[in-house]
Amino acid sequence: ADLDAVKNAGTVRVGMLVDFPPFGIQDASGKPDGYDADVAKALGEFLGVQAQIVPVTGPNRIPYLLSGQVDVLVASLGITEERAEKVDFSKPYAGISIAVYGDSGLEIAAPEGLAGQSLAVARASTQDTGVSAVAPQGTDIRRFDDDASAVQALMSGQVRLIGLSNVVFSQVSTVAGDRFDKKFDLSSQVQGIAVAPGSDALLEQVNAFVDQAKSDGTLDQIHQKWLGEPLPDFVKNAQ
């Protein structure tokens, strides 16, 4: 829906993940929380409307947007070319870096080393695209429905490698100690707020919001709260 519709309704419906810590989680009372939730609230304030959060999942977040069930996605959606064909992205509001991690005993330093190994990723995630782009022939890429399942595959020994964001990996380390380490970086990935194609006025406002939140320190503050450091430079500087 475009800006008029949002203003008329008095609420902006924001799709976000609730199973992607620390960007989207549920707090102890079951309410959506996390980096994306705080950004969504700030966006609502900026637009002068109520932000109504709609929990979505990785596989169905784009259908939610395209079928008009939500107005915007603040759903840790990495900006990629393929996605940009379906949805319109704002300027980046967050970013993560993605890498291949795995059993500490494995000696792998570059994509070529993946041949003959099995590696877990969350289906349709940025790391899925990233790994698929560089993996040589003979890599057994196993696509799970979400990061949790992929991590579970790693932990239970079903795979020895995983494509994961730094953010999630740091959480894994707290449980698994030094059983796993980083093999090589894939990419850093910036994430954008997405609107349905044709919602140009809304997109303009969202971009204005992102600019303002970057310059007035709002995003730094939220990033600090959830990830323990200010918004990284590669996000600030990205176009």
Partner: protein
């Protein structure tokens, strides 16, 4: 309004068709093995051996009253802890067999119990042993009596198999999901997936009807 564009789907139809083939293969193997498990389960349940009956009961009730998703999860992620590490496709097959085996056990048991006592007595009066009676007298009519329930359970199995993508096993649904991840043409993909599943179900119904004609069409008594 949304502009439908089937190009990404038809451009990759070969992937979906390959996925459909995987689903067919997975379901067929699960059906055959599941039938074996079901017959064994039903024999155990109707046998006089109490612990065996009790064990089968526990198996059947636990499986029938918990979701398939959880079952497949435990088989794939849980068994490695016990030293049994199955590949995704094998784990999917095992989970499906375990699942359909529980439903099938109950169905086939009902079939066995639907055989008139007189049939078994006739077998005994002819001097046939219990195993021979089961094999030659009971089995075919029992399967015939419950054939519709059994085959609809098999179709249900085929549809349920779409869940196996959660453990990264390959099938039609996961082919669709992969394509979705690349093209984001969700509606088009789901529509085509639904049609493909429908065609598979239709195909299986036709196959089952053919099997019935081949093996179970003796004239029914009036």
């Amino acid at each position: 309004m949304y502009q439908f564009n089937f190009q990404p789907v038809f451009g990759n139809l070969d992937l979906l068709l390959y996925g459909a083939w995987l689903t067919v293969r997975l379901s067929l193997m699960a059906m055959v093995l599941g039938l074996v498990v079901s017959v064994l389960g039903a024999v155990a349940k109707t046998s006089g051996i109490r612990p065996l009956r009790w064990l089968t009961d526990v198996y059947v009730e636990v499986i029938r009253n918990t979701p398939f998703l959880v079952q497949i999860f435990f088989i794939f992620f849980g068994l490695p802890a016990a030293g049994i590490s199955l590949s995704p496709n094998t784990a999917a097959l095992v989970a499906l067999v375990v699942n359909v085996g529980a439903y099938g056990t109950e169905i086939i048991r009902a079939g066995i119990e639907s055989i008139p006592r007189g049939q078994i007595e006739a077998g005994r009066a002819l001097g046939l042993g219990p195993a021979q009676i089961f094999r030659y007298v009971v089995m075919i009519p029992a399967l015939r009596n419950i054939y519709p329930s059994l085959t609809s359970q098999f179709i249900y199995l085929m549809l349920t198999s779409s869940v196996v993508s959660v453990i990264s096993a390959n099938d039609l649904a996961s082919a669709g999901a992969d394509l979705n991840a690349r093209t984001f043409a969700s509606f088009e993909i789901y529509l085509v997936l639904t049609i493909l599943y429908f065609l598979l179900a239709l195909g299986f119904s036709t196959l089952f009807a053919a099997i019935r004609r081949a093996f179970f069409t003796y004239p029914a008594s009036r």
